[in-house]
């Protein structure tokens, strides 16, 4: 209904592969993007800190997992482990490299590279191991990384509590805050940094998806023998997917620790977080970047909204444990129902809706 495709024609191949080929889409996307930056003054620090920034962090990890699982078909349950590498990497870079050489954005990217390299190491078995068997490698990564940072206290700067708070000076990006007169430790500034990183990396992922690398990944996912017969190096594609994916997870871990909770804590990178992120991916839809974001928003907000609505309706007549359990039940049923209805997740739902809108009132 909304779509008026009549009169839209492309005159070169680059236009044909644009992310938003229709002018209407372009305008909407641009307005949306601007709004993401401009709405900051209208919102509260609380909302940013409790909802938006954590979603940006886990959403980015979901995009990363999407590259590995959605695009390349390599099932992974080590996401939290790779995030953990990112978080600890960022912390140690900030801590141990002289201030004038290091700042948070650089540390984030560099620790992303660390995480990527760790990912490649644990991805090596993927050259031989396929399917569910690969879980063993990614779970090994998850548990090993966790154990490793738990065992070697150096990485936590010998903090006996196991949690280390992040010094305010780490938020000072080469004195940028002073220069602009902005509180860089404040949530709006943190949000903007996270937002820029997430938009940049989402764009990067989307570009990969529609380029040769993305097609190579998908061909490995869909039919690896055919891929190798086409001349695609399957091991290289898999390792590259591990690297890029874990890079994203590492950056996401850094964002989670530095921009969201403000301390480095091993406990938040346990295996259930890997599952949560896999959920976000599946619900959002394999292979779709925007789907990953939708999935992240949904999975993160579902228990919060559910609890809030429960409290609102029953005015605290039930204790929190009950609400949490019911929330789990509803959530579980919802996932199963979604998978039955549309195994492609939100992304597929959105794509069908869009297709329907385009073809309305015809079915095809």
């Amino acid at each position: 209904m909304i779509y008026r495709e009549t009169g839209h024609f492309v005159t070169n191949y680059l236009k044909d592969r644009e992310i938003f080929p229709m002018t209407f889409d372009k305008v909407v996307a641009l307005i949306g993007l601007l709004w993401l930056f401009l709405w900051v003054p209208t919102t509260s620090e609380y909302f940013l800190s409790a909802h938006v920034i954590p979603i940006l962090a886990v959403g980015l990890a979901t995009v990363g997992l999407n590259i590995l699982t959605g695009l390349t078909g390599q099932l992974s349950l080590g996401t939290a482990g790779f995030m953990c590498v990112g978080a600890f990497g960022t912390y140690n870079l900030m801590l141990r490299v002289p201030d004038y050489l290091m700042s948070l954005p650089v540390a984030l990217l560099m620790s992303g590279i660390f995480a990527g390299l760790v990912g490649v190491v644990f991805g090596l078995p993927a050259i031989r191991i396929k399917g569910f068997y690969l879980l063993v490698s990614t779970l090994a990564a998850q548990y090993f990384v966790w154990w490793f940072f738990n065992s070697y206290a150096w990485f936590l700067n010998y903090e006996s509590s196991g949690v280390v708070a992040i010094a305010p000076k780490f938020y000072d990006y080469w004195g940028l805050g002073n220069f602009l007169g902005v509180d860089m430790q404040g949530y709006p500034a943190r949000y903007l940094l996270a937002l820029v990183v997430c938009i940049g990396l989402s764009y990067f992922a989307k570009n990969l998806l529609r380029s040769n690398t993305g097609r190579n990944f998908m061909s490995v996912r869909d039919r690896d023998i055919a891929a190798s017969v086409m001349g695609i190096s399957v091991p290289r594609a898999k390792l590259l997917a591990f690297f890029i994916s874990c890079f994203y997870c590492g950056v996401a871990g850094g964002i989670y620790s530095f921009l969201y909770i403000g301390n480095v804590d091993l406990m938040i990178y346990e295996v259930d977080r890997s599952f949560t992120i896999l959920f976000m991916l599946i619900i959002g839809g394999l292979g779709s970047i925007s789907g990953s974001w939708l999935g992240a928003i949904f999975v993160y907000e579902f228990p919060i909204v559910f609890t809030w609505v429960g409290d609102f309706i029953f005015q605290g007549a039930f204790n929190t444990a009950v609400v949490e359990n019911v929330s789990n039940m509803v959530y579980g049923v919802f996932i199963i129902a979604l998978l039955i209805r549309e195994p492609g997740g939100f992304a597929a739902l959105w794509a069908t809706t869009k297709q329907k809108l385009r073809m309305w009132p015809y079915p095809h």
Binding site: R128, S137, L139, N325, V330, I336
Partner: protein, 309 residues
Amino acid sequence: MDWVYLIEVLVGGLLSGVMYSLVAIGFVLIYKSSGIFNFAQGTMLLFASLTFVKMTENGIGFWTALFIAAGIMVIFGVATERFVIRPLANQNLLALFMATVGLATFQEGFSQFIWDSDVHGLQMNKFLDIGLLDPNPIFMSDHIPWLDILIPQFDIFASLVAGLMIVVLAFFFQKTKTGLSLRAVSDDHMAAMAVGIPLQTVWAVVWAVTGIIALVSGLLWAERVSVSFTLIEAVMKALPVILIGGLTSIPGAIVGGLVIGVGEKLGEIYLADVFGGQGIELWFAYFMALMFLVVRPQGMFGEKLIERV
């Protein structure tokens, strides 16, 4: 080297391996029959043992409670087939896997919703005063005279039960009609359907049987780690086991369990110092499985795939 200690460690490893095997068998059954990697195994353990414990806490006798709990698990298994597996029959494996994770989430909420979230001690010895075992607290390690080593009595009991379960299952699948159908189904879905084997019935039976296995293994595990949320993690323990064994092989699950059980114990004793840290059992089993799979990607007894193109 202290040989007696080594033997103690080995036997202890084998016995705990049997427990891994039992959980793994539940996995393998479902994977074999329907290609589903059932992540809900852990919550089934929790649900089954929680059901049992709550009944006994309310004064229902051991056997009655066991019987009722088994019944509930059967109903649960059949319902799972009907409402989760069947509608998803033609989806890809990942979707099915995620559905079982969804099922696990539901079950986790459900079991704690209708029962509670408390930690329960099982105290099996209370019920087991039936002449089988010493009436002493069963965690006491017993001296085995003819080998001159100490083995926890409960481990022996658990192994016996697990072994019995395995024998019963073997009988069930080798000799009964349903069992034969299951084997046919696991070989080839289409062919099985073509010769008139009702796929859905077979699946329902498998889920029901898995429910019963979950009950038994849940009770055995619960005795060690208490009936609580931690039971869910049993599934994470069983993962390397089935992967080593090969996803489709019941003997593989048994041998894999023993290998992991022994290997883990040995690693704990001989390798922990090398890594200068505690708790390498967290990942050691996975590394073992990983090493193993790199050599043999299809697992110990898994079918080697010749990819036809």
